[in-house]
């Protein structure tokens, strides 16, 4: 036994094996630290009101209170806020997918004076702090009566997101032109080519963008916070912050944690379903200089 361990330290393959065991241990400890908050959240969400504020806390509630979720849904009007969030997410996705693909076709396939300059300006805006455009944009939406509607969240999506236009353009550059050329011979217009040839080929990139758009819009807090004032129009993200201190819930941490747990379910489900677009997709396509 001892000699076997000694060999592990001495030989080359032995050292490599020790190396991977050590790596695994470090990674697993790290993973536990990532997951503890989730465990704590679910644990709290299933406790009786009286069991939340005790020290030392119970890690696993003795008698899980599943009805906390029902109570949280009712008290928070969760359905209303979920519907609001869904409406915004769906329209933002449509707008983003359309504008990214449409504009990217122009930037990647058709030549025009100033095209590359416009593209560079677009890329430059990625580094612009949002605060600079915040006040005038708010005042603009306010003056046309869009404050307290979903439009300030939805409409800008139809006018292109720099990063997504960039991603789609890079993708289009890699698509061979032969298909389009033969369609062109047959007399197709550029708009038909975009719709019938490019869009069907855009599956992978549009899926990636859809996933990121969903997560970004679903989690967005600031935009609905400043534009929405009616309680019935709040998104989940904004409604949660009001739930926190509201007299209807008070310091009822178990209900709040039940609501928070529900709120993170859609992005997590999407994440699991589209994992390859998140993790493998980014790792594969990477950033190549």
């Amino acid at each position: 036994m001892m000699t076997a361990i000694a060999r592990l330290f001495r030989t080359r393959t032995g050292q490599e094996r020790l190396g991977s065991i050590a790596t695994m241990v470090v990674l697993l400890i790290g993973a536990v630290f990532i997951l503890i908050p989730f465990f704590w959240m679910i644990s709290t969400s299933l406790k009786k009101a009286g069991d939340v504020y005790i020290a030392p806390p119970q890690w696993i509630p003795a008698d899980p209170q599943w009805e906390n979720y029902v109570t949280a849904v009712t008290r928070l009007n969760y359905g209303v806020h979920a519907t609001n969030t869904a409406i915004i997410v769906v329209f933002v996705m449509i707008g983003t997918l359309f504008s990214s693909s449409f504009a990217a076709y122009g930037f990647s396939r058709l030549r025009a004076p100033g095209r590359d300059a416009i593209f560079m300006v677009l890329l430059g805006t990625m580094m612009l702090p949002g605060a600079v455009t915040l006040v005038p944009t708010y005042l603009m939406f306010n003056s046309i009566g869009w404050v307290n509607t979903f439009l300030p969240m939805i409409v800008p999506a139809f006018f292109g997101n720099a990063f997504f236009v960039f991603l789609t353009r890079q993708f289009y550059i890699t698509i061979p032109k032969e298909l389009e050329e033969s369609a062109m011979m047959d007399g197709a217009t550029v708009y038909q080519i975009w719709w019938y040839i490019m869009l069907p080929l855009s599956g992978p990139i549009l899926a990636t963008i859809a996933v990121f758009t969903f997560v970004g819009t679903y989690n967005d807090f600031f935009t609905p916070l400043i534009y929405i004032s009616d309680e019935s129009k709040r998104t989940i993200a904004v409604a949660l912050t009001y739930f926190q201190g509201s007299p209807r819930i008070g310091p009822q941490m178990h209900l709040l944690m039940a609501a928070v747990t529900m709120s993170i379910v859609p992005p997590i489900l999407l994440f699991i379903a589209a994992q390859r677009y998140f993790v493998r997709g980014i790792v594969m396509t990477g950033i190549k200089g």
Binding site: W40, A112, P129, A131, F159, M253, I264, T285
Partner: protein
């Protein structure tokens, strides 16, 4: 990055080229309109507003540099700069170091590696209000999970969010938890390094540290650069965590620039002052980004240069 073939002289366009250009503008039109209406226009209006006094009720009144003068004398402005500076100086290098360390560990083939990568990336997917509220509960001085764990090892944890010496530290800890996005970009960079280079170095007798220092670090320097730029820009704009977890408190210990700006714009309706704040933030971000770009020839290596040398 940009195709040279796209550059054509406007004066020498034939009929066909002119048609093509027209279609190109149609395709680009959403982006062009978006740039004008939602970015370039607001930037200019914002600059104008920063020299005015405006609260929605009256017309904007030109007051010259008064907003900037007022800002200079405002204690809370300097406090917000201090908070954002400390946060950025600590959280960006710390987060990048941890992200790179994790990426190095995760950059290997073994069973369960995809699951582990997914777990580390998970916090990035659900970042937002829900998680911020969860952190409030985790940092609860009496019943929170952090102090419970600390108590188990015999340490009495501070009252994190109510203690001005610890609130900012708590927010830095939450930022480290969400380091998965940076980690993933590092991982992408690491996977771009051809295996042969490390093998060759190993045959030449380079140790693990030598390989890391003289091969890995230079070969991912463009990724480090990308993460650094995005990290600085992101750290200087933190809002949600600071607003939901501590709301700038206690005693303004977490009054980030973005929170200070939000209050002036949407609570006090000082739109002129808020615009001036935004411009100061804009200039800080531009100067820092420029410094990083300027310094990049010293430490960022690109494929092309390597081949030329």
């Amino acid at each position: 990055m940009v195709q040279k073939s796209g550059t054509i002289d406007a004066r020498r366009l034939g009929k066909r080229e002119r048609r093509e250009a027209m279609h190109a503008y149609v395709f680009m039109s959403p982006v062009i309109i978006g740039l004008l209406v939602f970015t370039l226009g607001p930037i200019i209006v914002s600059l104008f507003l920063s020299f005015s006094n405006y609260n929605l009720l009256n017309d904007p009144k030109w007051i010259g540099v008064d907003n900037y003068v007022k800002m200079y004398g405002e204690r809370l402005f300097w406090q917000s700069l201090r908070v954002s500076a400390i946060y950025s100086i600590v959280s960006v290098p710390l987060g990048m170091t941890i992200a790179l360390f994790l990426a190095l560990l995760l950059n290997r083939t073994m069973r369960g590696i995809y699951t582990l990568r997914a777990i580390y990336y998970l916090p990035t997917v659900i970042s937002g209000v829900g998680v911020a509220m969860l952190w409030r509960w985790i940092f609860n001085g009496q019943y929170g999970v952090i102090n419970t764990l600390l108590r188990n090892v015999g340490v009495k944890g501070p009252n994190w969010l109510l203690d001005e010496n610890y609130a900012l530290i708590a927010l830095i800890i939450t930022s480290v938890w969400g380091v998965g996005g940076t980690m993933l970009i590092f991982l992408a960079g690491l996977q771009g390094i051809p295996v042969e280079i490390n093998e060759a170095a190993e045959i030449d007798g380079a140790g693990k540290w030598g390989q890391f220092r003289y091969i890995t670090l230079p070969m991912i320097s463009h990724v480090t650069f990308f993460n650094l730029v995005l990290g600085i820009i992101g750290a200087l704009q933190v809002f949600t965590d600071a607003y939901v977890i501590t709301n700038g408190g206690p005693n303004n210990a977490t009054l980030f620039i973005a929170v200070y700006l939000y209050r002036h714009a949407f609570q006090f309706l000082n739109f002129g002052y808020a615009a001036a704040l935004a411009w100061v933030l804009f200039i800080i971000v531009m100067v820092l980004t420029l410094l990083v770009f300027r310094s990049s020839p010293l430490w960022v290596f690109y494929e092309q240069e390597r081949q030329e040398k």
